[in-house]
Chain length 346, copies 4
Amino acid sequence: MVKAGIIGSTGYAGAEIVRLLLQHKDVEIKWYGSRSYIDKKYYEVFQNMFQIVDDKCLDDNMEELANDVDVIFTATPQGLCASLVNEDILNKVKIIDLSADFRIKDVNVYEKWYGIEHKSPQFIDEAVYGLPEINRDKVKNARLIANPGCYPTCSFLSIYPLAKEGLIDMETVIIDAKSGTSGAGRGAKVNNLFCEVNENIKAYGVLTHRHTPEIEEQLTYASGKDARIIFTPHLVPMNRGILVTAYASLTKAVTYDEVKAIYDRYYSNERFVRVLDKDVCPETRWVEGSNYVDVNFKIDERTNRAVMMGAMDNLVKGAAGQAVQNMNIMFGFDEAEGLTGVPMFP
Amino acid sequence: MVKAGIIGSTGYAGAEIVRLLLQHKDVEIKWYGSRSYIDKKYYEVFQNMFQIVDDKCLDDNMEELANDVDVIFTATPQGLCASLVNEDILNKVKIIDLSADFRIKDVNVYEKWYGIEHKSPQFIDEAVYGLPEINRDKVKNARLIANPGCYPTCSFLSIYPLAKEGLIDMETVIIDAKSGTSGAGRGAKVNNLFCEVNENIKAYGVLTHRHTPEIEEQLTYASGKDARIIFTPHLVPMNRGILVTAYASLTKAVTYDEVKAIYDRYYSNERFVRVLDKDVCPETRWVEGSNYVDVNFKIDERTNRAVMMGAMDNLVKGAAGQAVQNMNIMFGFDEAEGLTGVPMFP
Amino acid sequence: MVKAGIIGSTGYAGAEIVRLLLQHKDVEIKWYGSRSYIDKKYYEVFQNMFQIVDDKCLDDNMEELANDVDVIFTATPQGLCASLVNEDILNKVKIIDLSADFRIKDVNVYEKWYGIEHKSPQFIDEAVYGLPEINRDKVKNARLIANPGCYPTCSFLSIYPLAKEGLIDMETVIIDAKSGTSGAGRGAKVNNLFCEVNENIKAYGVLTHRHTPEIEEQLTYASGKDARIIFTPHLVPMNRGILVTAYASLTKAVTYDEVKAIYDRYYSNERFVRVLDKDVCPETRWVEGSNYVDVNFKIDERTNRAVMMGAMDNLVKGAAGQAVQNMNIMFGFDEAEGLTGVPMFP
Amino acid sequence: MVKAGIIGSTGYAGAEIVRLLLQHKDVEIKWYGSRSYIDKKYYEVFQNMFQIVDDKCLDDNMEELANDVDVIFTATPQGLCASLVNEDILNKVKIIDLSADFRIKDVNVYEKWYGIEHKSPQFIDEAVYGLPEINRDKVKNARLIANPGCYPTCSFLSIYPLAKEGLIDMETVIIDAKSGTSGAGRGAKVNNLFCEVNENIKAYGVLTHRHTPEIEEQLTYASGKDARIIFTPHLVPMNRGILVTAYASLTKAVTYDEVKAIYDRYYSNERFVRVLDKDVCPETRWVEGSNYVDVNFKIDERTNRAVMMGAMDNLVKGAAGQAVQNMNIMFGFDEAEGLTGVPMFP
């Protein structure tokens, strides 16, 4: 059994890692890290775990943890993982970081958008951007995985085939994204109270959201062009789910069938990307609880644009599920192990 | 007292007209039309009206109604108003049609997008597109008002100042809109059941939604350019509210202050359009139950684009409130009479 | 114009007082008290008030306030009003206290259930329990109103006629209540986050909720018997509304018609209590935003029990609306002034 | 592999059977019955099943089905299973009926409460009430399982230990239950539209709900006394979950510890019943998607009553999960096979 430790196990993403690993046949969780709840029973924080998990929450000691486990998940605020990791630790243990610390290759871009100093830039180059559909081979041998952001995962996988094939103008990409509220985390803030979120929809972080450079970087790699996007996230009164509606001008006239063939070529062998049938739009309810990303597109001849759409569960493919998928690749397990749960509806 | 009749008073928009007129000091409702509930007490359909409305529902007889009232609201499916209206009726009574029948000036465009034959195209020219902020003077003397669609109202008012001033390229406009579920009506459909809508967000009518030509027509008038837009509506798990996030390329470099001055110039005298402070994004919760449209914008120097945003209550400014606003103008009342309710939060 | 001050104007109940008073023709708000947001524009806290309220938030200085206004509303945590009020203030200004400080006549009961020392027990006797349907005459001349709790208002008015008539055994009363989340206040607590409340229902404060002695006291007055109840509140994933389902054994056989006549006798002249038609159950959606309490009952011959039901908006009749109703009585206004808004649905 | 057929596979309960069986290692689904969607791909009805289920929906032919499969689940309206089943079928195949047809032993009671004639009363005696915690041994060899109702399962398991031990007066039991909306089924009815359910709570079927006699019958067996209950269901704006709050007078003074010992005695070996820690109230969020029932109780010395509480997922332990649990017992599988999913939160 692979032994896993989770730093930040009492946030929503951390708790989702717990849920998924409990259903993984080759992994056992040895360390439920949570600075806020040290010495408290984990099930007292999440009563769904009553009679399932009997462990207590432990402090965030990465040094000690590195001796005890084979893989560490850090589901923590930006900056923490970068401040804890070092060569010695990386020699002992695999790290899958769910924060943004190692996602962006240009440390200046990271420091500008995140407004914090990067504490271990020496590992940025080595870190692998953990999007298996793109970087599967690199993930295999990585010591340090930068697990992609939720919005970037859904945005990128929706757009990727057209970007890669050069069929869209990378200076015209607009991504209008909508997320359930678990994406805002479990911190006690007035803005995330039930009565503030319920019966409301709003945009936030307009033009300034920190997932913007992450998406641009990946789209630039994919297209070979300098991608300049507008990314607008919205908060939706639901628990889980991200929906992406993206727009871009086509670089040449294409038919539905041609583009469908392209999406199928990229994704038909991907276990977790489903290219929907013609005219079926992705909806978050159909992927809830699962690691799927559902994608589709429409070609608008009137305006010579493509509309690209994607839906996924922000806590699964957008965080914990993708982390487990990366872990499976790193340890040679079946890539879908622990991730075969059928989406739950309603 | 002005006497009002409502055809389609048991839909959500019709019921909202009832709610607003009950709070209007110069109007009394004489006719609660509802083909589905003939002879049933109105309050048995909407128990909030218990001990407030004692009338029974009546059939949709526009001829008879025209003799009894001063103004008729038709809150009915597309095609009904056009099939009932005639010169004789229009000579007796003002009509405010909440359907799309008289919104689009080109009958071919109407028939193509709506898929039905227009039964009285002879009144299309005369009908006034009832957006008071644009057509206030024409509304005054109109016999027949085409009350704007919910999405078009919010989309247009968000974009109007920049379109009118020629500051955005009308071939690059993308409108990503999100609506509460009351916009889908009160018909019994599986897709609108609680468990289907709750915990979900989806796009629908992508590239084919019938509000597209309505928005394009109005933007074309405003800009003097042939507007070609993409309009994508989404269904949000909440009762009321529409949020619009619109994008367009700028035709020249402008600053925030310059654009703010333009928005203020167009809207500072408008009772129901609020231009928010810098960096405050519109949210539907802040306008619920009221006739306000909250608008704002951001200028993206990185991509040379404008993001234009608007929020309103789809049943009020997007339907019943705007209809009452039009009625107020037509009958010489204070434009805000019956519409002064403070937005209800939470 | 009567001048009003609100201490605690940035909680949900305080904000609802603002909303209602803005629609009251004889009152103007002179003091938006909010210790948390001193010097901040009120509309920056509640953007629905943009272009409606331009005042800044002020500190909670009751002494100064007493010189400036005619009536003070305290929508604050337990203990604050009792710690601020004094004879000098009461001689200058009417006080309507929305906290529990003066609701319970036995100070020992108050201190036991609330776990705090009462700072001005000398005013408890004088304070009038502000349930107009019961104490209208006393309210008229009161200096200090103890505005009833939300659960007690709905519970009591649902049960009152049968309790008063001696038709139910006061030792068998069970009140199972369900409340929207605005009742939990606007404090930033993990338990009230959207993702914690949404898709969940729970009981809380079982056997220990502090509204228990308040309900018991009022039921004891009404029935002349020592009422011993079980009161169980539940948290429902919605913003507004309280539903009460209460049960008690009948003291003698009665028919529906007999009991209906009793309810009608008590409530047919009450503007804000609606006794529903036979077999129509109260629902919170039908009273939202209004000052109504909808009540009804069923007689179970199988078990010789009555089921008594009530629905109201916890922020209106359960807090701010009732406070305004009390103010109207105290100042000789029409009791419904500012409270005539039709319930908003959906 | 055991072969399963589902009649009514496109309702919410039927779809949940599909979800659970797809995760069951020893079962394959051979027949997706759905009269409404014959010949339509199952995944076109439930897009979550895209690329998971490729079968088409088939008609409800129980005769043919009996030849093809080993077990039939009927997730259909009352009366259908009773009208289809016969001796020949029962000799060929196990039937697990999720409707009420075989739950109530007295056919007169069934016909009175359900208002329909029972078409095969000859199988009522043989049918086993499929509550494994009570009837595990009988389930083993049954040909026909009457899968319990959702409310009865949660109500009964919450009350059972005290009823069985004679510690509560069976004439004083009051069950106040709250259910998510999936319990109302997937039929297109105005009352179940999003805007009708959202932001609302209501009681329904007060004194007349058809689960009343089912609960009474089981409580009568358990207690040996003639149980006469009041059962009041409420509709909650959430998808899944049932919460039961039950009340009864104690027959003698008992302490928390004594009662806790009793609950533990009955349930400590039960895989799917969790007796919570002292003062922890069951909440539906903690069991979502799982087969757990969480129960707890409080003893009120003030009123000499017990409050008994339970929470479960109405579609799992309240329907499909319990059906699979029964199937596991009937076929000799591990009772938890396919039911080990960890509750999903949020």
